[in-house]
């Protein structure tokens, strides 16, 4: 999930609606027995470590949309995973994206 820090652009009430939508979305994947794991990644208290070992506070320079969470699903193909991704409420925000990636394991697609 690549998106903006919701707390900067939305009211607590709006945040709560998004939270419920996210929980329902994950619940839907879990109800199909396709959920493996996942977590949100809070934006506060983040750090960026640069190649010269310099540490700066997040968020992350000019990039507005950054990784705000991830979910691992059981899918037959990247296309099936992309179908799951379409339901994610972060896509309601213009410019936000979902990135679908395989997990590097030798036991088939995830």
């Amino acid at each position: 999930m690549r998106h903006e820090d919701g707390t900067k652009i939305a009211s607590p009430e709006q945040m709560q609606i998004w939270m419920k939508q996210t929980m329902d979305w994950i619940g839907s994947i879990a109800a199909q027995n396709k959920f493996v794991s996942g977590t949100g990644l809070p934006f506060d208290d983040a750090r960026v470590v640069h190649s010269n070992k310099m540490v700066t506070d997040g968020p992350f320079g000019e990039i507005k949309e950054t990784i705000g969470g991830f979910i691992v699903v059981r899918a037959e193909s990247a296309d099936e995973a992309a179908e799951f991704a379409k339901g994610c409420p972060v896509l309601q925000g213009e410019g936000n994206t979902m990135e679908v990636r395989r997990i590097a394991k030798n036991d088939g697609p995830h």
């Binding site: 929980m23 329902d24 619940g27 839907s28 879990a30 109800a31 199909q32 959920f35």
Partner: protein, 410 residues
């Protein structure tokens, strides 16, 4: 209590205590001896009390007789071991102390330790449940086979193999080390919950037996909650869950033993005392950092004790199922979650989600779709109920589904 009622009653409460204490003393090698001595004790009681009338303190009498029988056995065994086979074993220290300790503390310790020994991962779950019923609950083979809808021979074989396994694996009758308690407790809790479900959902017509199974499960879990080493959050959560479910015992079956659906139940028959107890243990479970599936199930069960059909209730249930499915998927939970989704969000959304589940070998999947389509597309509702009817197995289920179809045709 009259004598003919007293002996079965004492058998139910005292047999398991005597067996646990003796087993712990003898070890699994002589588990059958422990069971024999306990059974013989009750046989002696039946004979003696029939002639002489009841002793003043029947429980103390039983313990004394069991102690004497165990002592005689140990002395005979000692004679054999020392005179007949002296070279086989050389260390008898401690084991041949022939006094059997039947103090309340030792009884409770022994039962807890037996619980962990029987619920050992080396024997399969259904054997754990069977052996628990025999050793920890004092059930007869007849009752166990009825509970499992099986025959005596099968159950005897199953229990025999389980005992053999415990012997081969040299399982010690003791509490696990503190570092292992959580892991081992998981198996114990699974067995207790299986035992409860065996009673709650069994298709056996014997209602008294079914309730007994549920109450035994609660009693075993209560013992875990009462002991400082095993009083863990998940234990309290499971206890809460079972109290909440058991509170509907008198409301969920009619006189013919047929299931009354939740919405049609007479709430005045719900047991308020059990609901309170459930609430007490649910509160007690809310410590620590681990959220077990029992916590989530108990919370869902709590909401089920609230009859009012509010949006808040269903939103809470939906979110609990959303989390539950992430840690413990099951088709039933997925279907229940979808029902909650219909109540909390909308039927339309739930239909889309339901069809994604694609559980086409499950009658409840079609029954749920039938329910969701009712009022939106009655033709589709009917088709789904008919699909459910085709794969429903019990006549009680068929009857409920047929009623839904009839209602649609009215």
């Amino acid at each position: 209590m009259e004598q003919q009622e007293l002996i079965p009653h004492l058998f139910r409460t005292e047999y398991r205590k005597i067996v646990s204490v003796l087993c712990r003393r003898f070890g699994f090698d002589e588990m059958e001896t422990a069971e024999d001595i306990a059974s013989e004790t009750f046989l002696t009681a039946a004979q003696t009390w029939g002639f002489n009338g009841l002793p003043q303190n029947p429980v103390a009498w039983l313990y004394r007789v069991a102690q004497n029988k165990a002592k005689n056995y140990l002395q005979r065994d000692l004679t054999f071991q020392t005179k007949v086979a002296p070279q086989v074993k050389s260390d008898f220290s401690g084991r041949y102390e022939t006094v059997i300790d039947l103090s309340p503390q030792n009884i409770s310790d022994s039962q807890l330790q037996m619980m962990f020994a029987i619920c050992h991962p080396c024997i399969p779950p259904e054997a754990q449940v069977g052996l628990s019923l025999r050793i920890l609950c004092g059930f007869g083979i007849d009752e166990i086979s009825e509970a499992f809808l099986s025959n005596k021979e099968t159950i005897n074989k199953r229990l025999y193999r389980a005992r053999e396994k415990l012997r081969e694996a040299q399982i010690k009758i003791e509490l696990p080390a503190p570092a292992q308690i959580d892991e081992r407790l998981e198996v114990v809790l699974t067995t207790i919950y299986l035992l409860f479900n065996e009673g709650y959902y069994s298709i056996s017509q014997n209602q008294v037996l079914r309730q007994d199974l549920c109450f035994e499960a609660i009693r075993l879990c209560q013992m875990l909650a009462d002991n400082e080493h095993t009083n863990k959050p998940a234990v309290n959560a499971l206890l809460a869950l079972m109290y909440f479910h058991a509170s509907r015992f008198d409301a969920r079956l009619n006189k013919n033993g047929e299931i009354i659906l939740y919405h049609d139940q007479d709430t005045s028959l719900w047991n308020a005392d059990m609901i309170l107890k459930g609430g007490y243990y649910l509160n007690k479970s809310a410590i620590g950092s681990t959220l077990s599936k029992y916590h989530l199930e108990a919370s869902i069960a709590y909401w089920s004790t609230q009859k009012a059909d509010t949006k808040a209730k269903w939103e809470n249930i939906l979110q609990l199922y959303n989390r539950y499915l992430q840690i413990a998927y099951s088709p039933v939970a997925a279907l229940n979650r979808t029902y909650a989704l219909a109540k909390a969000n909308s039927k339309e959304e739930a239909i889309v989600e339901a069809e994604k589940l694609n559980l086409t070998d499950n009658q409840f999947y079609f029954a749920l779709l039938g329910q969701l389509y009712t009022g939106i597309d009655n033709q589709k509702a009917k088709t789904n109920f008919q699909n459910a009817l085709t794969i429903a197995r019990t006549s009680a289920d068929k009857k409920i589904i047929q009623k839904k179809i009839d209602e649609l045709e009215e």
